[in-house]
């Protein structure tokens, strides 16, 4: 029976074959290509969720990139998909508040928080239970419910799915700077969920349902690629890797201490760095491997590490068995059964 990677290859191959049958060679047009020559990524230590310290770390992260922030409207998109008091599902509210403060200190004219939760429709509960409500009141920041935002129709320049177009929220499309703020997590369908998968939350539930069902039918990895390729707004990414989630993520996994924030403008490179932090080989993850061809840089050879070396914080996340083959191959010295890898 075909394994998961085999299935993904088949699906991707099928899409590409369909494109070929239509006379194209690839499931994207030139309009979708945004792969930069090189992609800077910064991994900065953040040992806990102390907000004062986080403001400093976020400001340091912003300062490592040539971002236009002053006088701009910044939209922060955290991951707020579900709430479980026992879990670490969502981007920590202290980090969101710290980012609001940091962008304001950098001169942003306005900073709003925007999300379209994918499972629950009860935003009041999600926002209050997760602790975000209190932080919104403290910071005076506005929350925009992307599930019910006004939308614009965007024709897709990629054809990983057969959707052809997407309705996307104007709050996102009209941002001067759009910041994806995912949690560093494993994902039981895609392997990992980071900056790019976090974009499922911008898809308005009022049009696509709860969960974002149309995307599931269209293919999760294919949808990740189409949505991210459709976003031409200036982007930045801040990954909450203070506490990550391993195992059966993105909802039912367990907390894993990593102690970092990851920054970068290229979401492909940021996700590759995040995947690497969890012990994955980015180019073995279906959507990153595809995105590397046109949207960004998933290969370490085209990534410029700023801040701390990623390898210093690499943590071997526990994954579901079907994703074991996406992990970085252990070096001979670390391989199970070797002298160095033996626990005996």
């Amino acid at each position: 029976m075909a394994d998961r990677r085999g299935f993904l290859r088949t699906v991707a191959g099928g899409t590409a074959a369909a494109a070929l049958a239509c006379g194209d060679r690839r499931p994207w047009t030139d309009a979708a290509v945004r792969k930069p020559p090189r992609s800077p990524v910064a991994v900065l230590p953040a040992p806990d969720y102390d907000e004062t310290r986080l403001v400093e770390v976020v400001r340091r992260g912003i300062g490592l990139f040539d971002l236009a922030v002053s006088g701009r409207r910044v939209v922060l998109k955290p991951n707020l998909v579900e709430f479980d008091p026992r879990g670490v599902i969502n981007t920590h509210p202290n980090l969101i508040a710290a980012a609001v403060e940091a962008f304001r200190l950098e001169g942003a004219a306005d900073v709003v928080i925007a999300e379209g939760p994918g499972h629950r429709r009860d935003n009041e509960y999600l926002i209050e239970a997760s602790g975000l409500g209190e932080r919104l009141r403290d910071t005076g920041a506005t929350f925009v419910d992307l599930n019910h935002d006004r939308v614009r129709r965007i024709e897709l320049a990629t054809r990983f799915t057969d959707l052809g177009h997407l309705y996307l929220p104007v709050t996102v499309l009209d941002a001067d700077l759009f910041v994806s703020m995912p949690k560093l997590k494993t994902h039981h369908w895609a392997g990992v969920t980071l900056s790019m998968k976090n974009m499922f939350g911008i898809i308005p539930g009022a049009l696509y349902g709860w969960p974002k069902n149309v995307l599931h039918w269209a293919g999760i990895e294919q949808s990740i690629l189409d949505i991210n390729a459709a976003l031409t707004v200036p982007r930045f990414n801040i990954v909450d890797g203070v506490l990550g989630m391993e195992g059966n993520g993105p909802i039912q996994g367990e907390a894993r201490d990593v102690g970092v924030l990851v920054f970068g403008e290229d979401p492909v490179a940021v996700d590759a760095a995040g995947a690497g932090l969890m012990g994955f080989d980015p180019l073995r993850i279906g959507y990153l491997s595809q995105a590397d061809a046109f949207l960004g840089n998933a290969g370490q050879d085209l990534m410029d590490e700023r801040g701390e070396p990623l390898s210093r914080f690499r943590t071997d996340f526990r994954v579901l068995p079907q994703f074991e083959e996406m992990k970085i191959d252990p070096s001979p010295a670390e391989a199970p059964g070797s002298v160095a890898g033996s626990s005996a």
Binding site: M1, D84, H119, R120, R121, D122, N123, E124, Y125, E128, A129, D145, H148, R150, V151, Y167, H188, G205, A206, L207, Y208, G209, W210, P211, N213, V214, H216, W217, N248, I251, Q252, L320
Partner: protein, 301 residues
């Protein structure tokens, strides 16, 4: 009038409808639930109070019988069920409009899984990632997609409240949708968006979707899933504490003859402290607090 109704009246749009949030463009869902709440508030002025919202709904019905999401956004049509329920309760509109709405609901179907997937799962059940019967058809959020708990619940309720011309077809769809809701119930009781177990791990229920399913199954007290949901709902709603959860849960408990006073007391407190938020939540809160005839009651016989 309860305080939620007063707040609703303060924030309706100039066009008579209601949007998801104060100041946003009117949409069908919020307008329909708000219309139900304004009507249920009772008193001699009830019809007049709700007239603008009912008028907004009547003017937006599409030729197909469905309702759009809102002006400028024809699809998807999942809020049709709520518009049908509002017009049925108002009893002021054109009966033909209601009939064509019910007919559209009867024709709208969720998407089943391809036959070859069914065969695959029968041969290799261990390959099934989610524990549900994908061959049971209910109603989807968007046409041509999978059936989920909330749209199925509202459509089921609407078909029970507004008999369709094709009674045999309606009976078959009602029966299948009831089976779908029973199949999707969470282990331990209640419903979430529609997945009870993923990759062998049980998922937890939500109060609002549990209440929606209980509205639709108010005439099916014989189902064990109904009893289990009624047992877990009060505590779940109190723990959640949002006006949406408390309002919908209070209404569901009352529909099943259970005591909802504790939830209503908590809801009243929550509303006193509630700042501006989702209008849909406010409307369900108003419905949960009211003690006038229930607009969602399923006719007997």
């Amino acid at each position: 009038m309860n305080r939620a109704v007063e707040q609703l009246l303060d924030i309706r749009s100039e066009d008579g409808g209601f949007g998801p949030y104060p100041g946003s463009d009117s949409r069908t869902e919020a307008s329909a639930v708000a219309a139900l709440a304004l009507l249920r508030a009772g008193g001699p002025d009830a019809a007049e109070r709700a007239a603008a919202a009912i008028g907004w709904l009547e003017a937006r019905q599409l030729a197909s019988g469905a309702w759009p999401l809102g002006p400028g956004q024809d699809t998807p049509h999942w809020s049709t069920s709520l518009a049908v329920l509002a017009l049925a309760y108002a009893e002021t509109g054109d009966p033909a409009a209601l009939a064509v709405g019910a007919r559209w609901l009867l024709e709208e179907e969720g998407r089943g899984q391809p036959w070859w997937v069914s065969v695959l799962y029968r041969l290799f059940p261990e390959r099934r990632n989610v524990a549900l019967d994908a061959n049971l058809i209910g109603w989807p959020w968007a046409s041509g997609t999978f059936s989920w708990v909330e749209p199925t619940s509202y459509a089921l309720l609407a078909l029970k409240r507004v008999p369709a011309a094709d009674a045999d077809r309606a009976a078959a769809r009602i029966s299948e949708a009831e089976g779908l809701l029973a199949d999707r119930a969470c282990v331990g009781g209640g419903w979430n968006y529609g997945n009870r177990t993923v990759l062998g791990e049980d998922l937890w229920p939500y109060p609002d979707t549990t209440a929606a399913a209980l509205f639709a199954l108010a005439d099916r007290a014989d189902l064990p899933e109904v009893a289990a949901a009624l047992d877990v709902l009060p505590e779940m709603a109190l723990e959640t504490g949002s006006i949406l959860a408390l309002g919908m849960a209070a209404l569901a408990l009352a529909m099943h003859g259970r005591d909802a006073n504790a939830l209503r007391e908590r809801l009243d407190e929550a509303l006193a402290a509630w700042e501006s938020g989702e209008i849909r939540a406010l409307a369900w809160a108003a419905l949960g607090l009211a003690d006038t005839p229930n607009p969602l009651e399923i006719p007997v016989g």
